[in-house]
Structures are given as C-alpha cells and as structure tokens.
Amino acid sequence: MRLLRKSIAYIIFIVFFTAFFLLNDVLNNYIMKLELINSYNNTPYNDHAITFLIESYEGTTLELSGIESLQLLEGCVLLKYNPQKNTMHEVIYCDKEAIEITDSYISEDQWTFLSGEKIAVVGCSSSYSLGENVYNDGFTYIVSGVLEEHISDAVNYGIFYSNCDLREIDAQSGYVLTSNNPEHVKRAYKELITWLEEKNIAIKEIDIRNAEFSDFIEYNRMLDYLMVCIVIFYVIFIYLVRLIWLRIKREEIFVLTILGYKYVKEKLYLQYISLWGISFILSSIFFLLMNKNFYYGYLSVFRLSAAVLLIALLSTFKMYRNAKYLM
C-alpha cells in the first residue's frame, strides 16, 4: 500500500521533471536564438550582411564542398554562429573579394578549409592583424583575412575560425552572410535560398524589425524578464506542490505529533527533498535515454534545471517551519 502510494508519487514527479526538462529544452533553444540576435547587436540585416537561421531536421548537412555551391557564395563570407560554443564563430566560406586585406584568399583556397587547416579571419576592429597567431581552445590559428567594416560590432570585433569541414556543416545553426559589396550579398543570398530549397531546407531571416515586442522592449531586457518569469513560475509551482503534499501528509504529521515523535519536521522535509531529488535523478536518466541525439548543449538544460530546482527548494525551506499550522 505504502509502496503503491510512493510509486505513484514518484511517477507524478518524474512526469513533472521530464516535462520540466522538455520545457527547458524548448526555452533553451528559444533563448539561444535570442542570444544569437543579441550577439549581432540587434542589427542583423543591412546592405552588407544578412543574418539567418537555417531550419531543417537534425543531422542534415549543407555540403558546401561542391564547386557549384562554392560558386554561389562568390565574393562573400559565410560565417557560422555556434550556439553550443557561445561566442565561437566559424568561417564557412571566405572569398577573396569579401576580404579587405588578405594574403592568399582566392576561391581555390577554399580547399585549405577542406584540408582542416587552422585559419582565422578577424573583424576589422579586432586586436589581431594579418599573419598573426590566434590561440584558442588549445589550437593555433593563423590570421589569413581581415573583414571589411561591418555595421555590427560583433562582426567587427569577432575572430572567426576555420574549424569545420565543408562537407559536414550542420543545417541547424545561425549564419551570417557578408561582403564588402552589397550586390554580392544580395545575389549570393538569393542563390543560396534557391539552392537550399532544392534540398528541402528553409532559411529564416533574423530581422529585429519584425520581431515580437521589438517596438516595446529591448531583447536584452526581454531575456532577463523571461528568465525571471521562468524562475518565478517554477518556484510558485513547487510551492503549490509542497502545499498539496503537506495536505496529503497531514494525517501522518498529526499521528506522529500525538505520539510525541520529535523529528516530525525533519522527517517531513527529508521525505520531501528525497522525493524531489530521486525523481530528478530518475527523470534525468529517462530524459537522456529518450534523447538519442544527446549533445553538449543539453548540459546547459540540466544546469538550468538544477539551478532552478535548488532555488525553489531553498525558498521552500523557510515554509516548512510553518508546517504545524497546516495540520
């Protein structure tokens, strides 16, 4: 009987946590996209650059290594924003004409990228100049290009690395297409859309002017508000769960009190924390098993969940002192 009741409680909490993780996952992706916009100083679209997301199912690759696909990016730079690596940017394609100063870039040099050589392209305001070494994440990159001045400081001060193999560029990230010649950007973008459509991959422009709430609130602020709202929501939710849980436990609390048990509150709180803790661990395992495409990004989901949970548990700690009044 007790086992049954406990099992039901655990199942309810596991379902809650799994939903909690999934919700966080969705929010996390949403926030990442907001961060993406934020990183480009909310000026994603202008004559010199277009910032866009490529929307596709996971595992799709762009395969930019073919001559045909490289030709459509002629005169442009294609940069990839990697949300899993925060501010890390990669150079997907960098044509000679898109670079203000360069020592070696011509279209054929793209094969350098294919060979996986460590090359960096920097924004015009970065502290690096041509030929210098840039050290990042244990690797050395040689600065082989400096970009034309861009309207976004994120690009001007950015350091873009050539980490990727053009055959395996994922189609789930944000990209910046830029050039010193606006005509190149417009043409390349148009051709890129057509080329991707043939592959059933859609492009979504990130344009702050069309964004929701943009007329009323800055995205920076909105992110903060969103996070605060999430935390408040979870804290209130956990308070309510605790209240219901105390009501269910009322009978046991009362009996233990009349029998003179001196650790009623401690026992109660231990049970409560165990219930959350064990459910959290079980649902984490369940969530990991459920997500076959587990990758580094999910760790941030767990970190966020764990932090919110900790805040919620600590905030309920004070409340347990009043448990006797709920009997």
Binding site: M1, R2, R5, E251, E252, F254, V255, L256, T257, I258, L259, G260, Y261, K262
Partner: protein, 222 residues
C-alpha cells in the same frame, strides 16, 4: 497526579476574543477515570489538548508529578507525550497505509524499543483487545469498533501513565461504545489516569469522577 490550577485559554482573532477555558482547577489522581462533559464548544477538547501538550494555555498552570507542563519547551512536550501520554480520538487517527501491526508498533518505534520487544508488546495488546486475527488487516478493512480497539492498543502499547480520550465512542454504536468504556475503565483500575471527553451522559456512569464544563467554566464536579 495532575494538578490543574487556574488554567485559562483565550482564542484571539482580529475581531474578538473567545474564552474557551476560564480558571479551571482540577486535581486528578492515579486510578481516576474522569469524564469531562458539556455541550459542544464548552472547552472540553481545548482542555484535553492542553493536557496533551498540543496547545498552549493562555494563563494558569498544570503540572504532572510536580513538573510544570505549561513551562515545557517543544522538545520536552514531545518527550512528555511520548513517555507519559496516550491519546485516543473519535476519528481513530490510524495511518491508513499501515496495517494493524504497524500502527500499534509505531509509538514503540518512536520510543526506540528493540524489534523483539516491539513484537512482544504488539502481540500482547492485540491479544488484550481480542484483535489477533486482524494483525495484518489495514484500517479500511476494520469496523469502527475494531479501529477504536486498535487505537486504544496503540495508545497503551508504550505504557503511558495518562490516557486522554476525546469522544472515543463518538463514531461507534451502543454495543461497541459500551465495550470501549469498559476497556477504559479497566485501564483506570490498573492505576492509570484516564480522562475522557464526551457529551454522552449515558456513558459517564462508569467513570468514577465527572466534571462538567459550561462556557469554559467548571460548573459541576463529583
């Protein structure tokens, strides 16, 4: 022996004050089977809760074996209840997710008795209550009279000196009620203090002492 001196309890709300007990003075000795009678709201249960250490008196004192209970802190009150008081309630207050054995064993576990001793005591009190055949039953499988017997067995198992019973027969039929009163009388005969709150005047004839409360005041005693 319990000495209650000028005990008062006032419930305060934002709008008014309600005097539940007004200067109560009673002395209760070992072997007394005391019935506290009176109409609903006259303060019977308040008195019982104060004697159980579940409620704080507004003024006055009561002491047990010369020790003032009203001055005890929470931990001492837990100990007082654990070691000296057995409580029987109208709604039985059995834990529904534990069987009969586990319900009776609970106060013994709280007192940290060894497993063998707990087992012996549970069997002893079940036998006394003639409930051995229900040892593995859950409360929902028992009748009202049977539940009350288990509640009494639980209250007695840790050998308390004081038994506080709040309307112990309130949910029972006449036959079962009579049997429960007989059991309580027997406990008193064994030298324990039994204090029973009831509004059923038919049952008090078996008690050797009766006090009547009217609007929180002691109206009659015998």
């Amino acid at each position: 022996m319990i000495n209650i001196n000028d005990l008062s309890k006032v419930y305060k709300t934002y709008h008014n004050e309600v005097t539940a007990l007004d200067n109560i003075n009673i002395t209760i000795r070992e072997g007394d089977f005391l019935a506290v009678v009176g109409k609903s709201g006259c303060g019977k249960t308040t008195l019982l809760n104060i004697l159980a250490g579940l409620l704080q008196a507004t003024s006055g004192s009561f002491d047990y074996k010369g020790i003032s209970v009203v001055d005890m802190n929470k931990r001492s009150l837990d100990q007082y209840r654990r070691e000296h008081v057995g409580i029987i309630l109208q709604n039985f207050s059995l834990l529904n997710d534990r069987n009969v054995y586990e319900n009776i064993e609970l106060p013994l576990k709280i007192r940290q008795y060894e497993k063998r001793k707990r087992n012996d005591l549970v069997w002893e009190y079940l036998e006394k209550m003639d409930m051995l055949d229900k040892i593995n039953a859950y409360p929902r499988q028992l009748s009202g009279g049977q539940k009350q017997r288990i509640a009494i067995a639980r209250a007695l198992a840790s050998a308390p000196d004081i038994i506080l019973a709040d309307e112990p027969t309130g949910s029972l039929d006449e036959s079962n009620a009579g049997q429960i009163i007989d059991i309580l009388g027997e406990i008193a005969n064994n030298g324990k203090i039994v204090i029973m709150v009831t509004h059923n005047m038919d049952l008090v004839s078996k008690c050797n002492r009766i006090v009547k409360l009217v609007d929180g005041k002691l109206a009659e005693r015998s």
